[in-house]
Amino acid sequence: MNSGLKFYSIVIPTLKYTNHNLTGVIEVSNLKKSYGNIVALDGISFEVKKGEAFAFLGPNGAGKTTTIKILMGFLYPDSGEVKIFGKDVNRYEKEIRKRIGFLPEEIGFYENLTVYDNMDFYARLFGISKLERNKIIKETLERVGLLDRKDSKVKELSHGMKQRLGIAQSLINHPELLIYDEPTSGLDPRSSYEVRKLIKDLLREGVTLFLSSHLLYEVQQICDTVAIIDKGKLVKKDRIENLIREIRGQTIRVRITCLNLNEDILKIAREVRGVTRIKTSDKAIIADVKDEDTIANLNSAITKAGGRITKIEHLTPDLEQIFLKLTGENK
């Protein structure tokens, strides 16, 4: 067999759950907030559209939590406007909260109450009837894998379990918008994976996500749009692939590992339309190409020339590099 595609892999920069229309679920305009002389937010503006998975990134102290607390109505801005579902967050707090699921960075439950009683209390605040409450609580606890601990007091739960309970309480009202602050904070790798999987499932169901996270890998897996905030200012807001394109320029750099690489194959590769530059490194071709189609054409041409391709990788910057560049932390 000479197909050359035994181990074909392409690193895809982002996973997308695109279900957007143009309705702004969250609209933040010229938001300012100071604590004494310290400026926490310096006129940030952004919009989160319906169905979008929106990541809010920034270094520690950049103003992420302040923004989330203003969105939730816990803090009052000095100036600016914050609307969720087209309504002012401080004037229509109850109407808005009926449609939101919120997970704070530091979750506080009523520790002496059981898991079920905590959930029951929150469900009651949404005015859910007794019959429906019981069903929703069981379904939600099952979804996060806590049904067997429903009679345990919260103080008896591990950190990971509390985090999962936090997610469960955020889903009790079948929210249209999720505002999550570090949802996998302190979780072990397996629990983190399960939480990410749950979030992805919710996104597929059409929920809008506003996610603040330090884990850029997590953001890159879950979100399609990123806003980067630094020192209270919005540094950048765009779709992840646009940011990557902007950073790397107009070309895509790929590494094609070819076991029987020779001059003939290199010559054919150079002749593929859309290839702007080619060099070799060990048993691999490093090519600057115009677009994703060119990569497919290049793959096809090399294979036809008898090349045995084992791997194709994007050598494009990832979110971490973009983040470091935009927040100046690579200096």
């Binding site: 816990f74 909260r97 919120f102 704070p104 979750i107 506080g108 109450l113 009651r124």
Partner: protein
Amino acid sequence: MMISLLSIWEISRKEFYEHLKTKRFILISGLYALGFILSIWISSYYSTLTSRDFLEILAASHSVTSIFYAILPIALSYDLISRERINKSIYLLLSKPVNREEVVLGKFLGVFLVICSILIPVVTIGSAIFSLYHGTPSLHDLSKSYLYLGAIILATSCYISLSLLFSTFSRSSATSLILSLIIGWFGLSMIYPLSVMYRAFSGNVSGIPWYVKIAYAISPYNNLNSLQRIISKPLYQNPPISVEQSIFSLIVFLVVTLLLSLITFKREDLS
């Protein structure tokens, strides 16, 4: 501002059941119940009183346990909001469709119900013990005993509300407790004796000046003593204000402190 009675009820309900299980409630209410019932039982057992002396016995028992009418509400309320902030549970609570006013009112109602749930049964049991030894008191005396109990509950509500106010702006529960005890209980009670001293030193001994009345009326604890006239003559001092003025003072105190709690918590940044 839309206030939902259902939300207030749900918060108070949670608060009520949560408090019933706390050690501090069990300890303080247990001591109160023991003190009150023992006091009635001892007075009833070792005396040659008749059913006509019911209110005298009741007044004495309330006086013995009067300290609990300040301690119990303060102990249950000093950390109502501050605890939520320290535990960070306030963020989950306020992420639900409730506003801050409902949180304050729900918490107030929850502690109010907890206090009613201990005071009403204990006084009823005390009355029953008295009846065992001296026969059933008259309906008139029973009515008066429960009217006074209502006044006690009003005074305890003032302490709930005051502690709640301190807990809305205190950064720690300890600060809130200290403020509640030192300012709310001891401090307010000290204004009256100071005003009497001022009156004596100023040479104004004819009649009771207005500032002395206000100094007396500002303390729920003083009003509690004044209101004992509903069932008997006051034990410790002759109050400078009438029963009606005491009730009015307590209502004003309650409304003002509750409003201040609502305003303070509403305006506060929950950082």
